[in-house]
């Protein structure tokens, strides 16, 4: 068996574990800002160790590399914080999809900024991403409406039972 398949499966399980840990952090009542800070603290440490030990590279880099890396890193950190905070108001199953669908953004940015060609597959995928987000929004709104009406029925039942 090609070891590439084993690595792909290991990658798949790692990303899936990350999604499950996001939900677990919410269930355990962890603060989104603390989880985000610790996730980045550990990841910074891992990336530093890998860079120094396995890639034998020094942290020094041209200013242009650092000036590209920092704002895009900040953007990714904003995303993790928003996801972790958002899980409190929704499901991990749909929230995880919303964050993964964002792979359409670099595709759109590459088309707009670097004038990359748009083939039929890319176009179909981008349309499906928008449709998927709309369906998730409808699902979440419907759940909210069902919950609100169930709460108002319960409130009304309690009111009727109250002694006059």
């Amino acid at each position: 068996m090609n070891p590439g398949y084993l690595y792909t499966i290991a990658g798949l399980l790692s990303f899936s574990a990350l999604g499950v840990f996001h939900k677990l952090a919410d269930v355990k009542g962890c603060r989104p800002s603390a989880i985000n800070a610790l996730l980045y603290a550990w990841s910074t440490l891992f990336s530093f160790l890998i860079m120094m030990i396995f890639q034998h590279a020094r942290p020094g880099a041209p200013a242009s590399v650092i000036s590209i890396a920092i704002p895009f890193g900040i953007s990714a950190s904003i995303a993790i914080l928003a996801l972790q905070a958002g899980i409190r108001h929704g499901n991990i199953s749909t929230s995880w999809l919303a964050i993964n669908l964002s792979s359409g953004i670099p595709t759109v940015a590459s088309i707009l900024i670097y004038h990359e060609a748009v083939n039929a597959r890319k176009a179909v995928a981008l349309v499906l991403i928008v449709l998927s987000m709309v369906l998730l929004w409808i699902d979440r709104s419907k759940q909210e409406r069902r919950r609100s009406s169930a709460e108002s029925i319960t409130d009304a039942a309690c009111y009727e039972k109250e002694p006059q």
């Binding site: 690595y7 996730l39 590399v65 950190s77 996801l83 905070a85 964050i99 991403i129």
Partner: protein, 144 residues
């Protein structure tokens, strides 16, 4: 805390745009012929993220509990292993059109299944349709 669909949608839109922009830096790096500095780029990328995360943490309390430290470590490790294993798969002649759809589409399926089975989340018919379309979209995009 009361769940709010409006707040969820707003946060998901922020996560969607910000997470999409995050990896675009690698494309900028390649376009400027700076790919040789990829290890340093990743280190500073995480450092930038840490800088913002610490600023956000200052808004609440700097004190963290054991659960947050442990889960943060597991999440950092899972995130890093996901990137590293995908990179290793590609370097072992695994074509990108197989590796990327499997890791993104597969993880979506597994996380959605875990959400429904382990955490008893309720997903309606629109949600299931959205999940299915989303997985198809990501597999199509990764293979495009």
């Amino acid at each position: 805390m009361k769940r709010n669909a409006q707040v969820w949608m707003r946060l998901m839109l922020i996560a969607f745009v910000a997470n999409g922009l995050g990896p675009f830096g690698l494309k900028v790096l390649t376009e400027r012929n700076l790919s040789a500095y990829q290890p340093q780029y990743l280190f500073y990328w995480y450092l930038g993220g840490l800088f913002f995360a610490l600023l956000a943490l200052l808004g609440s309390s700097l004190r963290v509990n054991r659960k947050e430290v442990a889960l943060g470590a597991f999440m950092g490790l899972a995130s890093f292993c996901g990137q590293a294993f995908t990179g290793l798969a590609l370097s072992h002649n695994m074509p990108g059109y197989i590796a990327f759809p499997l890791t993104t589409g597969g993880s979506l399926f597994l996380v959605a299944t875990a959400g429904i089975l382990l955490f008893k989340e309720k997903v309606g018919p629109y949600g299931i349709a959205g999940l299915t379309l989303g997985i198809i979209a990501l597999v199509t995009l990764s293979a495009a």
